[in-house]
């Protein structure tokens, strides 16, 4: 069992700011870097209507390199890889189809079937046996911390893996350069 308790999880203020919001939360939690949404939007090439999902994260590499942070990405990962990342205090960002939330039994949200075409960032923050805990900024009403009992989205592992397949099990994550070699060798993550 692994669980990463997020501090200050945020709800996206606009429908098209999900990626910048998720990046903001990852930056402040994992590498203690606090940046405004406006700055992150600029970094990842945000335009009205959202970002280009993969290239937005690669674009972070340049501004983050000044802070000695590298963006990693890799496909064909497994849940074991995610567990290893979380155990090292690393938060993976993955893309799910927006209507995955309909699988969670949530009553707060209802997303129609066209949501299969809209990819949305989520962060798996915990995995235990057959259950995956997810931070999703599309949900609102977060408190100061996201403890296990306050997580708004949990998915059964098979459902999680089925959704993840739609992006070939790809994940993005940040590493501090001083620890990069160790993480690179262990995960064979590729830096684009």
């Amino acid at each position: 069992m692994v669980f990463y308790e997020l501090t200050s999880p945020q709800h996206q203020a606009e429908w098209d700011s999900c990626v910048p919001t998720t990046i903001k939360v990852i930056l402040s939690n994992q590498v203690n870097v606090t940046k405004s949404i406006a700055t992150i939007k600029k970094w990842c090439g945000w335009e009205r209507g959202g970002v280009v999902p993969y290239s937005a994260l690669r674009k972070l590499d340049e501004p983050l390199s000044k802070l000695k942070i590298t963006v990693m990405e890799k496909s064909n990962l497994t849940e074991k890889d995610l567990i290893q990342l979380l155990e090292k205090g690393i938060l993976p960002l993955i893309y799910f189809r927006l209507n995955y939330t309909n699988e969670t039994g949530t009553k707060e949200l209802s997303i129609d079937e066209e949501g299969t075409h809209f990819f949305h960032p989520v962060v798996p923050v915990g995995i235990e046996e057959e259950k995956v805990y997810i931070y999703d900024c599309f949900y609102s009403g977060y408190g100061k911390k996201l403890s296990k009992s306050e997580v708004k989205v949990t998915l059964k592992l098979p459902v999680f893996l089925r959704e993840w397949q739609h992006t070939a099990n790809r994940a993005f994550w940040l590493v501090l350069e001083k620890s990069k070699d160790r993480q690179l060798s262990e995960f064979a993550g590729s830096k684009k």
Binding site: E14, W15, D16, C18, V19, E47, G49, G50, V51, V52, P53, Y54, S55, Y95, L98, K107, E108, L109, S110, I111, D112, E114, G115, H117, F118, F119, H120, Q165, H166, T167, A168
Partner: protein
């Protein structure tokens, strides 16, 4: 997903904004291609039940990608082209839904004090014509003659007035309304003609006579009713949520206090109701939904 589908999928996510997708891979002799479409989320609030619903505006045939037998991408519509096509479609849809909402609420809109005051010259002209007092000679004594002549020309172009040798009289539409409201009083007839003037002349009023006072009322009503039409029910929305949707949809920075004032006047005109939560009128919603189905206009970005 097949290997080639995953290749296209991955490329789409590297090149195009969120929401761009393809339905299926078309196989040619040696190449394979996909047609690019897009979905744009529309978030609808149901604050009475504390629920958010997401529906999607679908935009088809925005571009294309082709891959050759060596799995090399040999054609891709430029991402900037895709973005501008999405924007164009969304503006087109917003304009269409505005026209539909306006067609339903025009007579109520005419009762809003701010609209009535700004367009008072139009109302005065209609009244003078109805009372057979608008002669060309009398116009010579009007203090703002040029302005009045522009309004009169505009009303003649809409066939609400008709120019005669020595005076102006009711045009075809004015006469039809008089006939339809045979037993009604003067004020009701004039209100109906005035509303029709706003409905038929909206574009001209906004573009040529610079009557911006109409815009916020039409836009707020559009934001509310296009959402409700998509939901197929009367929505109960927090004022703040409606305000944020209004700003976002139209790229505005209107102050909340001004928005509240517009909402208050829409409420007095019985276009929207406001009692803690904002909610609409069932008859208006039915007419809007009906017209949207007939015109195949997808609701606006809300």
């Amino acid at each position: 997903m097949s290997q080639v589908e995953l290749e296209f999928q991955s490329r789409v996510m590297e090149q195009y904004p969120q929401g761009v997708y393809f339905d299926s891979v078309n196989s040619g002799d040696s190449n394979k291609s996909v047609i690019l479409n897009s979905v744009v989320p529309t978030i609808i609030f149901d604050d009475k039940n504390n629920k958010r619903m997401v529906k999607f505006i679908k935009l088809n045939n925005l571009g294309k990608m082709i891959i050759d037998r060596d799995h090399k991408f040999i054609f891709e519509t430029k991402p900037t082209v895709i973005r501008s096509r999405i924007d164009e479609h969304l503006v087109e849809i917003q304009t269409k839904t505005e026209q539909i909402v306006l067609a339903v609420i025009f007579d109520k809109l005419a009762k809003i004090a701010m609209v009535r005051t700004t367009l008072n010259p139009v109302y005065n002209i209609l009244k003078a014509v109805y009372e057979k007092k608008l002669t060309k000679e009398s116009l010579l004594n009007y203090p703002k003659r040029e302005k009045y002549l522009r309004y009169i020309q505009f009303l003649c172009d809409l066939e609400i007035l008709r120019e005669q040798k020595e005076r102006y009289s009711e045009g075809n539409y004015f006469i039809q309304i008089e006939k339809a409201l045979n037993n009604k009083d003067e004020e009701e007839i004039l209100n109906r003609v005035f509303g029709l003037t706003i409905k038929e002349g909206k574009t001209y009023l906004l573009n040529n006579l610079n009557i911006n006072v109409l815009k916020p009322f039409i836009r707020i009503a559009n934001i509310y009713y296009s959402s409700s039409a998509l939901f197929e029910n009367i929505l109960f929305i927090k004022k703040e949520n409606l305000y944020n949707n209004y700003l976002k949809a139209y790229g505005l920075n209107t102050k909340f206090v001004n928005f509240e004032s517009y909402l208050d006047q829409l409420s007095r005109a019985k276009i929207l109701n406001e009692d803690g939560l904002v909610h609409g009128d069932k008859t208006i919603l039915e007419k809007v939904s009906d017209l949207m189905k007939k015109s195949s206009a997808s609701p606006s970005m809300c």
